[in-house]
Amino acid sequence: MRFVDEYRDAERARALAAKIASLCEPGRRYKFMEVCGGHTHTIYKHGLEDYLPESISLVHGPGCPVCVIPMGRVDDAIALAEQPDVIMTSFGDMMRVPGGRGSFFDSSAAGTDIRMVYSPLDALKIARQNPDKHVIFMAIGMETTAPSTAMTVLRAAAEGIENFSIFCNHVMIVPAIKAILDSPDLRLDGFIGPGHVSTVIGCRPYEFIPAEYGKPIVTAGFEPLDILQSVYMLLEQLAQGRCEVENQYGRVVPWDGNTVALRAVSEVMELRPYFEWRGLGFISHSALQVRERYAAFDAERHFTLPGVRVADPKACQCGEVLKGVLKPWECKVFGTACTPEMPIGTCMVSSEGACAAYYNFGRFSRQRVREVSIEASRA
């Protein structure tokens, strides 16, 4: 398949792996965080760690939008869905995210009208088709999806659609990266920067990472060769004593981002003073809310939300996993009380969540899997 196969070429991967190995200082261990859940998914799906020397470990970061939704917000969304004549819509990833009282799937089984959409515009379409219902789009995601939510609100305003609102849960990656850098329990050598977020915000917002924290960051694409190359670029910076923001994903990410998208977001939304991230706690100025002038499209203003905070079970270590302090399998409930069938933590829900990726794709000693699969698939 064009534009995909080029970035999954095993021969190029081998060549790049050799270059990576040659850049590693003997005896030194490297820890790089891939901020974005999409990267985590790619790493496991393609078995990318097989190409990395043991001295390099990839630490999974907080950039999985559904993973950072706290249980109380899910309960709020379900409370919205339970209002009379409401159709709740959201992305498929959201359906199994557990709240204090269960998930969208459970709520839907109990009789609410919750529908999966592929785009907020689909939710708007449902609003047009159901003028006697109020359609709410549960907006989730980082800067990547905020523009499409903003554009949808602008479209709804332009068309004068009155039975549509959004339940805004958009969060921003830069404050989360900063929270991780400020966290005392983690030593990182660099970041693989989020690709899709950067298509919107560009690379400039990351400049504080080398400047203030002395860590290199390389914005990377989502194919396995993209990630291998970004690891190589990070090692090269370290080997050459450089520390900067570099852009591996230049084919999609403009240095200054997408100004049209950013304008739409800032037209419709503004920073919240604070927002709770699952596992990370409250982070100042880390999320977006609908501006007063678009209040008509804000589900939080339309309806009264319970707004109750639900504490994670003590055994749940999503926070440590999201900060990269623990590997998924090091969590106490990983794979026993918390599984993809019955996730307690959000990291186990989304295919981009570190725990789900590890459970579904990597739940075995790499060495043994490699020996068996290579031997058995031969011939």
Binding site: R8, D9, Y51, Y274, T336, R363, F364, V369, S377
Partner: protein, 397 residues
């Protein structure tokens, strides 16, 4: 910020209960923290063994209500079947949970199966619910090693359903039955109020004759066996998904719905005694079947991603939707587990039939690690392929 201190706070009782249930005390020396100084890899190994124990525990249905996941063919479906149905109906014929039960009536061995069809939309490129309902049951019989003979057909129709559509559906059933050499010999009809069903649901059951004296079953797979698929995978699932028109993706694809009885016959005639098991790769796709093999036979199954035939259109759609084609349903493809010595002859026999033109070996059965399906990725890495949790493509059959 004082919000976190003052905000009302609750506990998630269900989650606390789940944790308590698994916290049986034997984890006092919990590996990651207590075993300081232990090698990283052996600590990981301990965790993996603990997970393995959790996975082998008896399946339970914890939910209070049926959710869509219970019908998706993945883990939730499996729990529902084992914890609810098998638990209530348990008997030696049902227990293997094969595509069809094999029973004896006098001197005659029969295969007996049933399947329900709720596909949406009812008509899609390459087929409709009618030929699906016939082919699906014919195929369950065929892969059990039987010669399909007689079918039943039950219809649940919604008030207001166009008679003209019913005529079309029944005509394709008649055509499919004739093509498969089976007759529909009994049936039933119910009509429910508008809104209580979605147009037309069909249930078929079928019996076939088992004449070869073969004992087929996924539990008989042995290390070394070849894993063969009979052609490109995922055509049906992606075709139906695109036919719903929700995605605004167009592709030149048709469903692969077809009766595989002749294809299977050719394979059994050529290498019958060397065939361990066959399955038709419907809901849950090839990946689900391979997991059933690994679990039932206590073996590992290792697959080479590059060897799995997938049409470019299916791959493209799967890329866009974030789905792995190995999990997407087919309605005219089989997976066969065959003795390694007969693998070439088996592929040749399949390729001799038009439906098997794309037949190929995609991997092998291995001894260790038991119960897991491993994939060598096209990129050159390795990973496991687990049972699916939620269905990315509901109501495709």
């Amino acid at each position: 910020m004082t919000h976190q201190d003052t905000a009302q706070q609750q506990r998630a009782d269900w989650a606390e209960a789940a944790v308590a249930e698994h916290d049986t005390g034997h984890d006092a020396g919990y590996p990651p923290h207590a075993a300081a100084g232990t090698e990283h890899s052996s600590r990981e190994q301990l965790v993996l063994e603990r997970i393995d124990r959790a996975r082998r525990a008896r399946p339970r249905v914890r939910e209070k209500l049926i959710t869509l996941a219970h019908g998706a063919g993945g883990k939730a479906s499996q729990s529902l079947i084992e914890a609810i149905f098998l638990n209530a109906f348990r008997n030696p014929l049902l227990e293997p949970l094969e595509d069809a039960a094999t029973l004896t009536a006098g001197d005659t061995r029969l295969a007996f199966t049933t399947d329900s069809y709720v596909v949406s939309p009812l008509f899609f490129p390459g087929g409709d619910i009618g030929d699906l309902a016939v082919n699906g049951t014919v195929n369950d019989l065929a892969v059990s090693g039987a010669r399909p003979a007689h079918l039943s057909a039950g219809f649940i129709l919604e008030e207001g359903f166009p008679v003209e559509d019913l005529r079309r559906i029944v005509a394709s059933m008649a055509k499919a039955a004739a093509a498969a050499g089976v007759s529909i010999v009994t049936g039933d009809t119910k009509v429910v109020q508008r809104g209580k069903a979605d147009g037309c649901f069909i249930t078929t059951a079928g019996v076939g004759l088992v004449t070869d004296g073969l004992t087929l079953g996924v539990a008989t797979a042995r290390p070394g066996d070849a894993v063969i698929v009979s052609g490109p995978v995922g055509d049906h699932g992606i075709t139906v998904m695109l036919a719903r028109g929700e995605l605004d993706i167009d592709a030149d694809l048709v469903s692969d719905t077809a009766p595989v009885h002749e294809l299977v016959r050719g394979l059994l005639d050529a290498v019958g005694p060397d065939v361990r098991a066959m399955r038709d790769a419907t809901r849950g796709g090839v990946a689900t079947i391979l997991n059933e093999v690994a679990k039932a036979a206590g073996v590992a199954v290792a697959i080479d991603e590059d060897a799995v035939p997938v049409r470019a259109e299916v791959r493209g759609a799967c890329e866009l939707l974030g789905i792995d084609p190995l999990y997407v349903a087919c309605e005219g493809r089989i997976v066969a587990i065959v003795d390694p010595g007969a693998a070439d002859a088996a592929v040749a026999a399949l390729q001799a039939h038009p439906l098997g033109a794309g037949a190929t070996v995609v991997g092998h059965v291995a001894e260790d690690p038991p119960g897991l399906v491993l994939l060598k990725t096209g990129f050159g890495g390795t990973r496991i392929i687990d049972l699916l949790v939620g269905d990315p493509l509901p109501r495709i059959c």
